[in-house]
Symmetry: C2
Subunit: 104 residues, 2 copies
């Protein structure tokens, strides 16, 4: 379940841009493609990678495939970063620590 390559999924600039664009709201593949200078298969391949990493979900409707950001997708990434919060600059680290304490 844990997607070990959430980092790899976000490593590619184009794929990261696709994710960021989906953050504006649910979108079909064709709509998504409009913002990029790459082919439709390339978009589909990026979406498959993001989906494999648990970062986006797909909703089928007829011949359309709507993709959206998975709210829980960035969770593992946040968890990983939290392991090293002791190394963050003091201002941020203090707040993050507080956050942990408040977590029920």
């Amino acid at each position: 379940m844990l997607s070990p390559d959430i980092f790899k999924a976000l490593a590619d600039p184009t794929r990261r841009a696709v994710f960021e664009r989906l953050a504006d709201g649910e979108m079909s593949v064709t709509e998504l493609k409009a913002g990029f200078a790459i082919s439709q298969p390339a978009i589909s391949q990026h979406l498959a990678a993001l989906r494999g990493a648990g970062l986006v979900t797909e909703r089928r409707e007829g011949r359309f495939a709507y993709y959206r950001v998975d709210p829980a997708g960035l969770g593992p990434l946040v968890d990983w970063i939290d392991r090293y919060r002791s190394f963050w600059p003091e201002r941020i680290g203090r707040l993050k620590t507080l956050l942990k304490e408040m977590d029920p």
Copy 2:
């Protein structure tokens, strides 16, 4: 200043493991190598990548090179994630929002 490939630097599992090991404290290249089944040049190359991404700093002492985690290194990553905190699960998102409000 912004290192756009902080994601790429952390994408490789071995390199991420190197970073995680450095989180235990400053270490020389040889000490670091002891924990891995790869050659010394491979370690040095990973360190160069981490250094290029601003995740690690180097301290020279004689013929030794000591590496340590750069406290500010994960900053850009945290900032990027924060842009999408509205997509996080409600429990986390609420706390993160609170965190923002408390930030002077």
